[in-house]
Amino acid sequence: MAEELRIGVFVCRCGTNIAGFLDTEDVAEYAQTLPNVVFTRENLFSCSEAGVTDIRNAITENKLTRVVVAACTPLTHEPTFRAACEDAGLNPYLFEFVNIREQCSWVHKTLREEATQKAKDLIRMGVARAALLEPKESIVTDVIPSALVIGGGIAGLTAALALANRGFEVKLVEREKEVGGMLKNLHQIYPYKVEAGEFIATKIKEVEKSPKIEVLTGHSLEKLGGFIGNYQATVGSGDGSAKELKIGVIIVATGASLLVPEGSFSYNGEDVINQLQLEERLKNRAFDAQNIVMIKCVGARVKERLYCSRICCMTAIKDGILIKKQNPDANVHILYRDLMCYGVANEEMLRQAKELGVRFVNYSLDSPPVVEDGKVKVHSNVLGRDLELESDLVVLITPLIAREGAAELSKLLKVPLDEYKFFLEAHVKLRPNDFATDGIYICGSAHWPASTAEAIQQALGAASRASIHMTNKKVKVEPIVSMLFDEEACRGCGLCASLCPYAAIEMVETEKGTKAKMIEVACKGCGVCAASCYKQAIKMIHYSDEQLTAQIRVAFREKEVESGV
């Protein structure tokens, strides 16, 4: 026997926010006439203690089986009203929110009658959907308190230590034979005048000493299964031996590579070198040039690579300062398009370089410098004339580019890359360390070129984000997810899995063939899978076709009646 539907509708006045622009009394009276509605009430403020008590009492006294509140937005008060239902013994997913403030009274302030009618329409739709709501439970999964950090440069080491210091197990996987990353090859870290080699050596020692961190050098990720809280990662060393790891969260810290300027400006690695080679010479005290010309933006901010690599200006300026300090008679010219010394310390370095006599020459992309034997010709924009600079060493400043293997890793993790193959975060402004997929985080130059300080800040940030679920020990998500409700219909085509932005669908072999399998805890309920399934085998829980069609149907039926159709 079908349950008896007893719907209660609460219309909020919100002081004058709603009642000031539409007739809430009329709206409440109208609600009383809707099918299955056994109780209506107009509240001054439904969200207030008095309003919530009213809802609770009405549920008990009138044996309500569904509750509709017409007020503001789910973002402001849905938790409040769901809790009220739960307190009165009603499943919180039997609650329906109708927005008559942001989407009605506030936007139709001068149209009282129309706004009143619209509020009625919206409530009629809400009541129609409420009738079809089903009780649901939250989805909960345990989180293994262990993290996989991919990449052993400064970002990966920092993230690993931050998590280990908070008591979590860490598996640190590094593709190369040793950890340390790019800092191993650098001379000094700007703007701090800290020796890069010493700095990274200290970090490595700390990591090695930590009982919580297992370092797997010469290993990379080969396979990944599972989902947030419960991943199975296979890491291998390429010789066939593999290790299975059970982990709860993943941090990507694979860094970036320096573009090698093969074929540009007579690059030869001897008297026309790149920035890493200059760093090495300075670090090994093997630097003895007298006339140095650095050319910036070689391969950066050009058609093939429309981005600024962010850190090269400062590296070049820092090296210019070091050269001038070592040999004040040296001539250092830096040819640039824009000097990207953002912030306080970077600008200070630029001033210091100028004071020490480093010369800056502004060129434009239309007339790039020309490297000839022993000299560099350039048109100075500011002076408005051509210059010929003597040079026994030319340094080509090239950008950081995505690491080889970024594409493969992104496929394994099912997280996206941008067009330059840097990893693409969940939100470029507000979620710089998250991926859209919960449980996987990003930091350092794998995400975008970053200075050492920035890489450390981001690594700590990623560790912080990753620690949230491990600290809570559980992930709890709303049961607003997709579901394969017609397994027969599923043809196993995999369209849904390939379109899912959250890696929440996997294709599995069953007795009945290949079928889609939903990973509920990773699902965000966006509905892409259900919309794209041409066999209509997928259903959205809490936003089912039946519920939405019922809403749409009543939205128009009333109109038909009015117009006599």
Binding site: G167, G461, R465
Partner: protein, 374 residues
Amino acid sequence: MLEVGRHPNINMLAYSEVKEVTGEVGNFTVEVNKKARYVKEEVCNACGDCIAKCPMKKVPDEFDMKLRNRKAIYLYFSQGIPAVATIDKEHCIYFVKGKCRVCEKFCQKGAIDFEQQDQMLKLNVGAVIVATGFDLLDPSGLTQYGYGRIKNVITGLEYERLINATGPTEGHLLRRSDEKSAQKVAYLQCIGSRDLKNCSYCSHVCCMYSIKDAMLAKEHDPESVSYIFHTDLRNVGKWFQKYEIRGKEEYGINFVRGRVAEITEDEEQNPIVWYEDTNTQEVRNLTLDMVVLATAAMPSKGIKELAEMLGVSTDEYGFIRTGLPFPTDTSVAGVFACGFCIAPADIPESVAQASGAASRAAEVVFARKAKKRA
């Protein structure tokens, strides 16, 4: 803001100031003055009835850069958290003249409380994170730009309010002098930044927000024409160069390499900018409807007192010093910092730093708990 306001582990004290900090890492005592709003926070639900009835209508609205007035009882801004009205004691007729109490009469929830006092709260915490942000340089002192004297020279923040649909002009870019639409607008970089007489550092965010501002003007009025006067255009962030190219190609922004030396005014109160185009080495001028100054960003007012209270060291400008090994750590153990208070930073940088500082603070708290257990 909503997320913070609703988080069960966050106790948010708005309209409050830190007065004293004692103790050490793992065990700080922080005294906070929670200022009286004369409205009961737990009762008020920001319905706005009191604001509608308040007869004191002529208080310059700080949130709207004083471009319009607010009442003596007000919400700082409509999305503010907590959503609670506040009585501005200095302008409230009852507090000034001893008579009125209209808000009290109209509040249906009985939330008004004229007897409310400031409250001194003592908080015991394991770690402190400083995230006090920035203020902008008042360009009145840079007389060559004529701000304050030439009506149609405004600051970037004033522009933000004008172009905002909820702002004083409902999103129309109206000139201060004659309320006419401004179509030809220049955006000037490095006003007080990279300037040895003012802030010798780079404020980092102005290049990009000026491009955004010019795009907004074009979206609002397809006839608008924009000029960005700049030195180095610092588009270092993710996809920033593409944004600049979009500004140039899709929005027709004119980028002029040159620092404006002076702004004068013609008879119609149109500002005229005088500059050297450093690409052509020519001195030129350009008459405009409006000029927007990208003023230098500085550590917020009060940072010096706060730094002294905490004992953390600052640089010559007042930014809190951080460094290696942890650019989230100040000179005092257990005190961390993030965002603009350590140096100019854009949104993603600030967010990453904030998560980073939270991670460091959590390490401290965890170490303390682990020690207790041992």
